[in-house]
């Protein structure tokens, strides 16, 4: 098998530009910041949510409420894991009812995380709308979910690893992709199933960047 190689998809400037653009698009679509609240999915989605909020403050001069959300309690695979994931704190200290809620994550992949987040948001109240913002959309959706704001679309194989690094918790800002040796069309369903099983048996440590 050929050696895995790592490519930089976005650098610090690229991430900054993406966040700036997304912030402008959010304001444009929602006619300003008044109706907005923003919720980031822990951990890196929450970092990005905070950056978007401060960018919006820069542009509009308005403080919009930012919340953080751990979606682990709403996952659909809790019963398949041997040890439950560690739960971080969800902090939503504002009312979401009748607001335009911007949900933020770093990478959009199967869509299962977003499904969990949507279910959780509804338990907090009924927003006027929920819009999804992500830095990377890597494809391979397993649920009918699409983003409203995207930093960058990147084609990947299912075996690739996409890592978003943010200076809040990593050395610097960057988005990396670690290509697997397999070609995209090698990932037949049978093989994917196999891989999924393996990952379940031995969950990878989340170190130096989130893998999605």
């Amino acid at each position: 098998m050929p050696k895995d190689k790592i490519e930089t998809v976005l650098d610090k400037k690229g991430i900054n530009r993406a966040i700036t653009r997304i912030s402008h698009e959010i304001l444009e679509r929602n006619n300003g910041a008044e109706s907005l609240v923003i919720i980031g999915i822990l951990t890196r989605g929450a970092d990005i949510a905070k950056r978007i909020a401060s960018k919006i403050k820069e542009i509009e001069g308005v403080d919009i409420p930012v919340g953080l959300m751990d979606i682990n309690l709403y996952r659909d695979d809790v019963h398949q894991k041997l040890d439950q994931p560690i739960i971080q704190r969800t902090e939503i200290h504002f009312d979401v009812v009748d607001r335009n809620l911007i949900l933020v994550d770093d990478v959009l992949y199967t869509g299962r995380t977003i499904r969990a987040a949507l279910d959780q948001i509804v338990d907090f109240g009924r927003p006027r709308s929920i819009q999804l913002a992500v830095i990377i959309d890597r494809g391979h959706r397993e649920l009918p979910i699409r983003p409203d704001y995207v930093g960058k679309n990147i084609p990947t194989s299912k075996d690739d690893r996409v890592m978003v690094k943010l200076s809040e918790r990593d050395e610097d800002d960057s988005v990396l992709i670690e290509k697997s040796g397999l070609k995209a069309d090698d990932t037949t369903p049978a093989k994917i199933k196999d891989k999924v099983k393996k990952t379940k048996a031995k969950p990878k440590k989340r170190k130096g960047g989130k893998t999605k």
């Binding site: 041997l82 040890d83 439950q84 560690i86 739960i87 969800t90 338990d123 907090f124 109240g125």
Partner: protein
């Protein structure tokens, strides 16, 4: 970090990391209790049996709510409504119920060791909700959660446990947990209600309440069972109150920023005066709320642990 066992039988032998994991997880669940919809779907499809062979109001309700808020299906079995009276053994009872496909058991029983006994005759995860005078781990966990919530730490605090040390499972679990977390622990009560060689727990032992309170941060007051009087352990309730009742007057001996705790149910005017129970340093009601968060955390963490792991 993860829990070592798929059961929670007691706090003896549970490491500081494990206790911290439970308490940290409980912080997240504490927030859920404050939400408008106090429920998450996490344990959908998990069935929890609450097996209560001893009367209990608070612990039973607390566990039931914790389970429901995690979306588990729950059934509660109490001695009065069972076939126990007909002479069915505990083993047969639980095996019959388990045959109806349950996943977790919360058990309260008057005999020490019953939670362990259940691990030997069923596959479910077992959570001890109090066995004899042995252990009551979730009560101690919620006590520690409450202390940590207030002081931001456990290490280095002086905690005094007052009352019927001999018959109290709450005291035993608190001693194991607090010692593991680096607290300095003292027990205080009449010498007739101190068990044999209690000092071997590594605690300071007092029979003088004033001495015990001197310099303490947290005072955890146990309910005194009035029937102890008949067994000859106590002279009169009046004398107990005079010697060991916690009054506002006596609180002056404590450190500044002290905390008053009681696992309930309280005998107001016996082991605690209403003034102390309702005073600004009392966290008695906070303990009750925290109890749910801690029990949700325990249920959540154990629910993922299957038998093949061991």
């Amino acid at each position: 970090m993860k829990l070592q066992s798929r059961h929670l039988l007691g706090l003896e032998g549970v490491s500081a990391d494990e206790i911290s994991l439970i308490l940290d997880t409980a912080v997240s669940f504490r927030e859920i209790i404050e939400r408008p919809i106090k429920k998450v779907p996490t344990l959908r499809g998990i069935t929890v049996l609450n097996l209560f062979y001893e009367p209990s109001t608070r612990t039973k309700i607390s566990f039931e709510l914790a389970e429901k808020r995690l979306s588990a299906d729950t059934i509660t079995f109490t001695k009065a409504m069972s076939s126990v009276k007909k002479g069915e053994t505990l083993k047969d009872t639980v095996r019959n119920i388990e045959a109806m496909k349950i996943n977790m058991v919360v058990v309260r029983h008057g005999s020490s060791g019953v939670p362990y006994f259940l691990t030997q005759c069923m596959d479910s995860n077992i959570i001890n909700a109090g066995d004899g005078s042995h252990e009551h781990p979730t009560q101690a966990l919620l006590d520690m959660f409450t202390i940590r919530q207030k002081y931001g730490k456990l290490k280095g605090l002086r905690v005094v446990l007052i009352g019927d040390v001999k018959h109290s499972r709450v005291v035993r679990s608190n001693i194991w947990g607090l010692k593991t977390m680096g607290c300095s622990v003292a027990v205080c009560g009449p010498s007739t209600l101190q068990p044999y060689e209690v000092e071997k727990f590594g605690v300071d032992v007092y029979t003088d309440l004033d001495e015990a309170l001197d310099g303490a941060d947290v005072v955890n007051i146990m309910r005194i069972q009035l029937e102890r009087q008949q067994s000859g352990f106590l002279a009169t309730q009046r004398e107990y109150t005079n010697l060991f009742g916690v009054t506002a007057e006596r609180l002056k001996l404590l450190n500044k920023n002290f905390t008053i705790m009681h696992p309930g149910p309280m005998n107001r005017g016996v082991e605690i005066t209403p003034e102390v129970a309702d005073g600004k340093s009392s966290v008695v009601l906070e303990q009750v709320t925290n109890g749910q968060a801690v029990r949700m955390a325990v249920l959540y963490l154990l629910s993922g642990k299957r038998e093949e792991e061991e």
